[in-house]
Symmetry: C2
Subunit: 408 residues, 2 copies
Amino acid sequence: MPVNLNTPAASSLLPINGVTLGFAEAHIRKANRKDLLVILLAEGSHVSGVFTQNQFCAAPVLLCKTHLAGDQPIRALLVNTGCANAGTGDDGLYRAKLTTEALAIALNIHPQQVLPFSTGVILETLPADKVIAGLPAAIANLKQDNWLNAAEAIMTTDIVAKGTSRRIVLGGKSVTITGVSKGSGMIHPNMATMLGYIATDAVISSSALDSIIRFAVNKSFNCITVDGDTSTNDSLIMIASNQAGNDEVTENSAEFTVLRDALTDVAIELAQAIVRDGEGATKFMTVTIEGGRDEAECRKVAYAIAHSPLIKTAFFASDPNLGRILAAIGYAGVERLDINALKLYLGDVLVAEKGGRALAYEEAQGVAVMQQPEILVRVDLARGNASCTVWTCDFSYDYVRINADYRS
Amino acid sequence: MPVNLNTPAASSLLPINGVTLGFAEAHIRKANRKDLLVILLAEGSHVSGVFTQNQFCAAPVLLCKTHLAGDQPIRALLVNTGCANAGTGDDGLYRAKLTTEALAIALNIHPQQVLPFSTGVILETLPADKVIAGLPAAIANLKQDNWLNAAEAIMTTDIVAKGTSRRIVLGGKSVTITGVSKGSGMIHPNMATMLGYIATDAVISSSALDSIIRFAVNKSFNCITVDGDTSTNDSLIMIASNQAGNDEVTENSAEFTVLRDALTDVAIELAQAIVRDGEGATKFMTVTIEGGRDEAECRKVAYAIAHSPLIKTAFFASDPNLGRILAAIGYAGVERLDINALKLYLGDVLVAEKGGRALAYEEAQGVAVMQQPEILVRVDLARGNASCTVWTCDFSYDYVRINADYRS
């Protein structure tokens, strides 16, 4: 069950002026479930995106990058679940184009103004006919207050729909932010994708929005892992409908950091929600590395801990076999690490120092921390001032069950 | 259950002249099991070792490196299970020294002529008193034909004892090689170590033996993974007792490659045995990458596949969700990979080419291959002539069970 995560109330996801959302049951993989989403953006919206680094990136990811780099402003997003359209070669690209063209015709816009997204099994053919057949129903129910329906329409094996909103004041004007995400891992087990969509009505320049999405993704979606696998389809999109009436935010505005931090805060909550709903998760773990020479070496140590199946299964069992964490620190690849200087904490408990077990540490203290659903693992490398934080979940029987049975 | 692996018959493990082995039940962690091993080497033996790269390496690993670098020829090996003596700081080093000194006194040799090894839980204190109390019994039963007992005495949660022998002819003289290993993963789940000991009676120079162990480890123990975790205690030792009467083998001898390849062959069988007995393993997977620009990029792709929990759980389920393999190839970090040129094979079946599913591929073919206990995954990167092979196992419910319950 997801760790401290519930489906948000529909009323808690605030509408964004200039952004309407419509969904449909297109029967792409299964009957009787929302599996198609259209997001329509008002003229004048700005859109930024970041995408998977996987070289086998999906056909829709390739199209998104091309369309975002083009000279046509983005007006619509099209998302399907049930098929990732990845590992599908030229045919996959052709089918992705077909669906964007169909939506463009229906909305009377240019195909390059549509961004397509797919999530589902890799190496299978996109049923473009079903996607296209579902478009009229999705367009017919385009509404501003459809954010919860949108969050549900992009779910695959997610247990909980993921979304959140914020309201801030920018230069005296009220600005709203709403975002949704899906995924149960860096690769979603069955369905192979993390998707995130965050929209605001703030008025902001394109370059400032580009700057913010890069900042936010590094503090959020790039800090989570369930299984260390990077999807072929991962996409995060940030939308500004520019309708809030505030003075345009640029990189030099006083309000830039206010908006940046609010958007980043939403991104962090959505990213953490993916880990809380990680495959088979029973614990939510925050791994914080401090005292590093630079952020890169902190991330090496954090991910060595967060990816270790041995550590993740120990957390599942609430068994403080904390030597496994020392082992992960030791193989993380930090040059000339002084193992006698570093310190390992579990919650507030000092577990290891001077190369071994802390004298005052008792196993009952470790057990008490590990039985909590939210656990902090903190390492002080004692060699600098850099730090980083990564979020992950434990590794349970259900992880194996979900991934072994995923297509049944 | 181990994949195509059985405990060898005691008679199949051939004695090595100049090498005797003795074991004891020292009650280090559990009663009524062999947990202490002494290997005594005749004067004139040569010994080479390679050890874990983990910076939190165990106290006995530090002592081994010091003793091997010293000017005293190695005469004895001392191995305990039940405690890794890693993450134990200065106290751990002190206790490891105590045990080597006790064995040295008993055998009337110098403490620096003893190599100590430990395997077990990290971050726990070595009960040096129990190790020392067990030495007389182990010394009392030192025998040449104790190799199977030795293999059993170093087991932790291994299901099967691991050992093998070869007989070759070098310059008209019969030469024997026998080796044993333990481990169920790069980190053993409970016990945190891979250990391997390979002995031959061949006459060989120290530098040639050093050269061979480096060659062999790169073709064997450095090509296996169960969970991607690198132990604090991993050690491989190669022993030449120099008693076979052959002309001394040097790097320039005609016989060098014959002996090197026979020792490497033993190392590969012992390394594969660890994967076959990997935690919860039900399948043995060979991952071969061909057509790379260099071996390093082939290894990146091979380990991306071999480490992916998504791929390993799919193999457990015999579910040919082979898009997961494309995803792993795509995130392995190979620069400017041409995904349209590479080819993916499962056994002899061409699964993917031209960036997507091969036209002739049918899922039934994939299922047929995946239901076998031994599976070949082969990728042709189509950009060079380098290749590599890595061995791994699948990821089952039992992996989680073993690692979640390991200290009970």
